[in-house]
């Protein structure tokens, strides 16, 4: 499956993704929470999928599709 994580293209295998939820799968869908585990995201963070904010209580039920764009942001300096 191909997806974009923080702007970078990635190709991942379902079997490589720890804790993905097969019961929610069609053939290629993964939960957003599995993707976050796969990429070792560290708190604090917030997430957008294809440019749309995803609330943290929806990570488990949000499915990732081919070519989806996942953005994970953390605090940084700002003026």
């Amino acid at each position: 499956m191909k997806l974009f994580f923080n702007g970078e293209p990635h190709s991942i295998e379902l079997a490589d993704v720890a804790g993905h939820q097969r019961q929610l799968d069609t053939k290629s869908a993964l939960s957003l929470s599995s993707i976050l585990v796969h990429f070792a995201v560290k708190p604090p963070f917030a997430v957008a999928l294809n440019g749309e904010f995803v609330a943290n209580n929806n990570y488990q039920t949000t499915l990732i599709k081919e070519n989806d764009k996942v953005d994970v942001v953390s605090p940084i300096f700002g003026g």
Partner: protein
């Protein structure tokens, strides 16, 4: 001295300060402490494994125990700012948002038309919006009409340090929006610019580069702390009437040698 009010919250300091561009995190922290500011701005960016997800920065900010004002810097569309604002609200646990929506890449001038649209959406979603805008009276009035209790017109373009380029426009906004908390955001380079902002009746100033890029950021932060106090107190004291003709301050009555020649 009266307190600064932002959406019902009150603060002793009238200086809001940014967290960017300091020589180091240590200097950033010292400068913020020296400024006496109780509100700091910060942002969100894609998590980078190289800097451990920004963990060090975040720890320092938390230890400062200040109020956080996340911004939407770098956004160029309503969709971007709305979604970044939502991400900020969840991560920082605040409904405050410093709304930046850039309309011109060269001058970093805010897009007034899209800013109004985004502000409306966010206010209706429960955000407390602090819009960064140009010094256009009608724009500011429109933002106030939407429900913004705080409006932040620029003094000059971001990072230029040129001071208040259009005092007339800024003063006009102050006169026409007497009940809105007005904060000069961007363009301040010197403590004297800060004093001028307060003398125009502005409630607070927001700055970053002027301190972070000073030769001695901590010392400059101290200077701005005093400038904010001096400007605000001077405004409250009320200036003397301006005159076109000189008037001696020392009495002429009783002057020796008067008309003796």
């Amino acid at each position: 001295m009266s307190q600064l009010t932002i959406y019902g919250d009150t603060f002793d300091s009238r200086l809001l300060i940014g967290t960017a561009l300091y020589p180091s995190i240590k200097v950033m922290r010292q400068a913020i402490e020296a400024s006496g500011s109780e509100i700091v701005t910060l942002s969100l960016r894609r998590q980078s494994p190289q800097d451990n997800g920004g963990e060090q920065f975040w720890q320092q900010i938390k230890e400062l125990n200040v109020t956080l004002l996340p911004n939407t810097a770098g956004c160029h569309s309503v969709k971007e700012v709305v979604n970044l604002a939502k991400m900020s609200r969840e991560l920082f646990q605040t409904d405050w948002i410093k709304l930046e929506l850039i309309g011109d890449e060269y001058s970093l001038q805010p897009d007034p038309f899209e800013l109004v649209k985004a502000t409306d959406i966010l206010l209706k979603d429960g955000f407390k919006v602090l819009p960064y805008c140009t010094d256009d009276l009608v724009l500011c009035r429109r933002l106030a009409d939407l429900g913004c209790e705080v409006i932040m017109p620029w003094g000059a373009p971001i990072g230029t340090g040129q001071g208040l380029l259009n005092p007339y426009a800024l003063e006009t906004i102050r006169h026409r929006l007497p009940d809105t908390t007005l904060i000069i955001d961007a363009g301040i380079g010197l403590p004297s610019h800060a004093v001028q902002a307060f003398e125009l009746g502005y409630d607070a100033i927001l700055l970053n580069s002027a301190v972070a890029q000073a030769t001695d950021p901590v010392l400059m932060a101290t200077a701005f702390k005093y400038a904010a106090d001096a400007g605000r107190i001077g405004f409250l004291a009320g200036r003397m009437p301006e005159k076109q003709i000189a008037q001696p301050s020392t009495p002429t009555m009783g002057m020796p040698f008067w008309h003796q020649e």
